[in-house]
Subunit: 357 residues, 2 copies
């Protein structure tokens, strides 16, 4: 625990990268998946709401709060498909973990890197109950910032050995291939989404355009296929043709949010969907036959960031990572806020955690 006078731990992008390197990527993804599974199984304990989005023509900024009555978390995340032209990431995120008992922010962490990790871990968690257990070949359509994480999570945690890759930008695919070179994965570079989907047991779509882009058509479906649709995540942004959803059993994270943001926004409000937690808890069937087509219409839900933040918080404490951030005032008399104005500022505004532990 940090000193009570500076209770907020800050994890920078480099801190989280160090955390992943020290533990190993596979161990980190496994740990995240365990936290996600545990929290999805506590579904009823969470105070949930759809995320709060502020849309413009250029992109979206969202806040994603959630609480289990003991711990509160929120994530700030943007989605700006054209940021690449400015040398900025499409998606940037950070988040906070707070103590519900007092409202104290305990952790402020980067979540750009972490969002990619938790999204990949969630994808595998869903695929383990929705894809065929013998799945070995995955199409990965959209080879942007998330793609390495999806590729490695499905390889190490789901047994995928062959990737069929496609991106409208061949240089994105080339970067992905070079990153996967020593990882024991066979990479097949394809020239269209259709070609990538050929022979795939799992089709992962992770594209970024903010429009209704039909990445997967009905004609690309094969019996027993699992579709892991990661990229459609706001109104007007979809990846699957309506016929794909019609032909499949569709699974979602949190129905009220996915009805608005997910690929099912194209379907009538009574189009049947099953929440993933119900499958994990054994309350609803996942895949029932080898021929069934399944879709995980994933948009990203606050619970996943809650799980990721508590995972980071535990790991950072264990590995002694991060710095103490003077975000809230430390006062001898908490009613004496005015006194903060007249005191001498501390020399080191931000201190190494070990100095205040």
């Amino acid at each position: 625990m940090l000193h009570h006078r500076v209770p907020t731990r800050f994890l920078s992008v480099d801190d989280v990268a160090t955390l992943v390197r020290r533990q190993g990527l596979v161990t980190t993804l496994q740990g995240l998946m365990a936290c996600l599974q545990a929290d999805f199984l506590r579904w009823g304990a969470f105070d949930k709401c759809p995320r709060l989005a502020s849309h413009t023509a250029e992109g979206v900024i969202e806040l994603m709060p959630i609480s289990d009555g003991r711990t509160y978390s929120f994530k700030y995340v943007n989605g700006h498909p054209h940021n690449g032209r400015l040398g900025l990431p499409t998606v940037m995120a950070f988040g906070v973990l707070a103590d519900v008992h007092t409202g104290t922010p305990q952790l402020l962490s980067e979540l750009t890197l972490t969002t990619a990790l938790r999204t990949a871990a969630t994808s595998v968690l869903a695929a383990r109950v929705l894809a065929r257990p013998d799945s070995a070949v995955m199409a990965l359509i959209g080879n942007g910032a998330q793609s390495e994480f999806q590729a490695l999570a499905f390889h190490h945690l789901m047994g995928i050995h062959t990737l069929r890759l496609f991106d409208v930008d061949p240089s994105a695919t080339a970067r992905l291939v070079s990153h996967l070179a020593d990882r024991g994965l066979r990479c097949v570079v394809c020239h269209s989404a259709e070609e990538a989907a050929q022979g795939a047991d799992i089709v992962t779509t992770a594209t970024a355009d903010k429009r209704n882009a039909t990445i997967v058509h009905d004609t690309m479906l094969r019996p027993g296929m699992h579709l892991n649709a990661v990229g459609g995540d706001c109104p007007g942004k979809t990846e699957l043709a309506p016929g794909v959803l019609q032909a499949a059993s569709v699974f979602v994270e949190y129905e009220p949010q996915t009805r608005v943001e997910g690929d099912v926004q194209q379907m009538p409000p009574d189009f049947p969907v099953t929440e993933l937690w119900q499958v994990l808890a054994g309350l609803a069937p996942g895949r029932t036959t080898a021929d069934q087509v399944t879709v995980f219409d994933s948009v990203g839900f606050a619970l996943e960031d809650f799980s990721a933040l508590r995972y980071l918080h535990d790991a950072a404490q264990r590995l002694d990572l991060g710095q103490a951030l003077p975000l809230i005032p430390a006062m001898v008399d908490p009613r004496n806020l005015y006194g903060v104005l007249s005191r001498t500022p501390s020399r080191a505004a931000i201190s190494p955690v070990e100095h205040v532990s």
Copy 2:
């Protein structure tokens, strides 16, 4: 401007205290009031929503987002009336200013101190159109963390020369009196809210209990009185008797939020209220007669934090305050998020702003 690789400026509690000291408290309050006035006059330009609250028996944690289409801001704020027993502030807050064009977080700032400043500036902004211009005596009921800021703002910006003080805890009043000693204000310590209200032109209530506490009764009203009700700010937390509201013209910040959180939560949904911005814009009357009783049912609205954050951002740039916070990844190729995992961490995770300007 910070280096584009570390675009987020961090202002700690000490940074904001330094900012206020360097400029002077009165200048800071005046500057905040000018920003508030300018933003209230742009009311229609903002994408507004009631804040998102997570309630428990012990307190509340809230997120308050707003955007004018160019700049987005949000505040995190808690309210835990019993935090004092744990040596923690009742209210703790921080906030972020982001560029809507790219979603980049530009400023992360403490807002505990700032919330007290912006609340006092908002109170005066309202009182200037709602209180009698010759107001000289103010009752200040609730002498907690906000009280010095209310006292000094009303003294320096509204011409109040006498304060009539009451708190259920006499030591809170004693602290307030000692802080106001050299400020040219006459302080009268009272033994009840009723006594404090006697002869007051303005009655400011800033109590913290999370319950329906009737601080101001109908019998305490006098013709021409202005009530600045700051403390009632969530469901089940009110300060004014229903009869007080019945007898007065009631002004609010943002009607959809105040109907739920303000003192008017006790009234029927069609109880007449006027939004402050309409008065400031000359679209609705404020005080019309010297005998009228007016109430500013203030709960705190996201626009006020937007104004405060942009004021802080400008002042911090001018005064070169704050540090560069590595909250989002700096990447040569923004699609190469995976590459962040393998790079060497920078030595100084958090850098002085001048080193990266």
